[in-house]
Subunit: 229 residues, 4 copies
DNA sequence: TATGAATGAGTTTTCATTCAT
DNA sequence: AATGAATGAAAACTCATTCAT
């Protein structure tokens, strides 16, 4: 569903005057019927993410999504099989968007520590990892426990993500710069970032993004600079 | 709600023959009316935790809880204001139970690294932190974003928990054995355990408890043994 | 149910410090078991009248009545067949109480206009016709439309009441002091007092009792002093 | 809610073969979707009035209303916020309907006694003041004691009604034809009609409409023709 | 007598889905 | 494609009544 240029066509987070954030579409309503149709479909996905972030999957009603997307209730059926399908597509969009953003910004052929540093900057200090996206993210993730469709979406994403991180730490390890067990280091790091994101998704005021990033950098130092094994 | 001896009166997790886990009450149905009443109330809480772990808060119906507890639907009203109140009480029970267990098993006046090692053992290798409890735990936690009652329960718990961890790392710091910033170390550690628990709650086969514990021990080594600042 | 001396044993209306009125029992809890039992039964009737006045018959729950009477929920069954029976008994009590009060205070062998004047004073200017009693009264009356038991209670009361009024106007008529049709005068008067009570029962501030009484006196003047037929 | 021509579009009372009365819609189910929707909403209001007249507000279930209106249970939500909102709308309809009917039939610039006579004829001898409407009317009115929404509806209606009556009696007074206090006469008259309606609403066989009207006419005579003050 | 735990039928409310226009 | 009226199943909530103690 996510297309190459989805990120360029839309801004899905906006700083509101009151300081909160909000998914919005930056795209002007297009002219041709075909474009309008596609645009409305995307509006439905955005509205879904926003609702899920604000109230959770099961508190979100079709009525709310459609009214937020300024379309009629029945339109859901034209673009999606049902509410469940819409949820899965919205979750996919989120994963694809995160993934695309990291792919674009974090180059794996850099110096591995530099790349990891970049990753941390990218994931904690940009609009891509904001409280709204994170809230939707964790709502979907928790729900995936009882939802095979969502489970599949996350499985694929997680494999990619762990592989990505693996590549970076492995290169550090090969350069002799990692003084701990590779897998355990990766699991420690991935768990820690999950935990940080989770806490931020529940209470965005708990840490500043900068502080969260600096916690990650302490982690890198601790795992790279200690006495040889 | 949680009483001094709640852990002694009940075992709330059981390895089923098929390998899954299940909340059960180890107590025999008592004799006196007063005890039976209290016992049934507890059964309702257990049934709630089990349902929430299996299907999430909003997928759990009152009908399911009561039939699992072998009581009539109306009894909920007798002991709790409504479904929401029951959920909050169940969440409190979980928090109190975790807390009591750690308080009982992890002595803060030990050598801090020993105490932390103990904490890790306690939290990853005992029936208290099992996939069922964790699943309920995260369901409640995620739901707390949109639920002020749950938010309050977690706030109180989290203050206690962070304070607990703080005491341990602070003593290590004072002994000159912590070579990183105290607060960042604590946040890194707490986030990492949250992340490990979260992943285990979604897929209990991802890591063995022993592996999760060893990841934590690597963390301790990394943060204690590296080159002086 | 109502006994000869029910009015002497109890005060069922009390001016609260805040200006509102409230049914209370003036009787001290008696000593002997037999008296206590009777006393509790009366407390249940009072509590019922108060609840019905405040919230209407169908908004009043057994739980509320018993907690207001400071008895356990199950006690209702010992004294009354069920909730419906309690309502009917409470309604009867009210009718009997009104009736006894008028019987006691309005002597039919006085001069008829004096007796009617007395009736008006009695029914608008005493604690017996207060907003609480009236509110319960009309709640029961409206409900009697769909309740044969209540219908019967009111039928009996109304026959007595109309007969009472009839006697008074008839004597005025026989004295040549009534210049209108006897039955129509009676129906006009009874309807007017019903209407006044109804309006007072819904909004006690609408008229002062004195004003309501003076409206009645205007009525007497109008129907007695106009030009001969 | 009530539109200019609601009375023309519908007959809401029908003499059944068995002698009872029944709200019915005289309108044929219309053709266009918009009209059908509006028609169904009105059917729901009619069904509500009928149920309330027959059983009272709290005895009336949503299920009964919708089955009487031949629509599904869920449609209530489509047109009204909830059951309470439907009740309020039905009450408003009743008030508006009474008011429109009187406005249409009773001209205030006639001779005041003629207008009052007309009012009496209109309110006791037409289908607009029938036992069904009156039963619903008093059910709502009594309920308004505990219902702020209904209270508001009645307040507005009552202000109009008393103002209307005031105009008529005031003109009689100015013509020197009223030999009693103006306000007390009005309150006596309004109370008397309330009482007559109330008694008719509880037992329609108590008086014939003609008799009730003649009672009112006696009242006019008594209050207009007696000896000068 | 008196209690209050327990029941379960009855009712309202919610909301995804369907479908005629 | 798009609308929104209409449906009805699912769920929570209410509460009179029952009954063991």
């Amino acid at each position: 569903m996510a297309t190459e240029n989805q990120s360029e066509n839309n801004i899905y987070r906006n700083e509101e005057p009151n300081g909160s954030t909000r998914f919005v579409s930056s795209r002007i309503k297009p002219k041709t019927q075909k474009e309008i149709t596609e645009w409305r479909k995307r509006e439905l996905v955005f509205a879904t993410l926003l609702c899920v972030a604000e109230k959770g999957i099961h508190q979100t009603t079709v009525e709310e999504i459609t009214s937020r997307a300024n379309v009629s209730r029945g339109l859901i059926r034209h673009h999606f099989k049902n509410k469940q399908d819409l949820m899965v597509q919205a979750c996919k969009y989120l994963c694809d968007d995160f993934r695309m953003h990291i792919d674009k910004n974090v180059k794996t052929n850099d110096d591995p520590w530099k790349a990891l540093d970049h990753l941390v900057t990218t994931t904690f200090e940009t609009p891509y990892f904001n409280d709204v996206s994170l809230a939707a993210w964790f709502s979907f993730w928790i729900a995936s426990r009882n939802d095979d469709d969502l489970k599949l979406v996350y499985k694929e994403y997680y494999e990619w993500y762990r592989g990505y991180i693996h590549k970076l730490f492995e290169r550090a390890d090969k350069l002799g710069q990692l003084h701990t067990d590779l897998d355990q280091t990766i699991d420690a790091f991935v768990s820690m970032t999950d935990g940080l994101w989770l806490e931020l998704s529940i209470d965005v005021t708990k840490y500043s993004p900068e502080y969260a990033a600096s916690v990650c950098r302490e982690f890198f130092k601790a795992f790279s600079q200690r006495m040889p094994k």
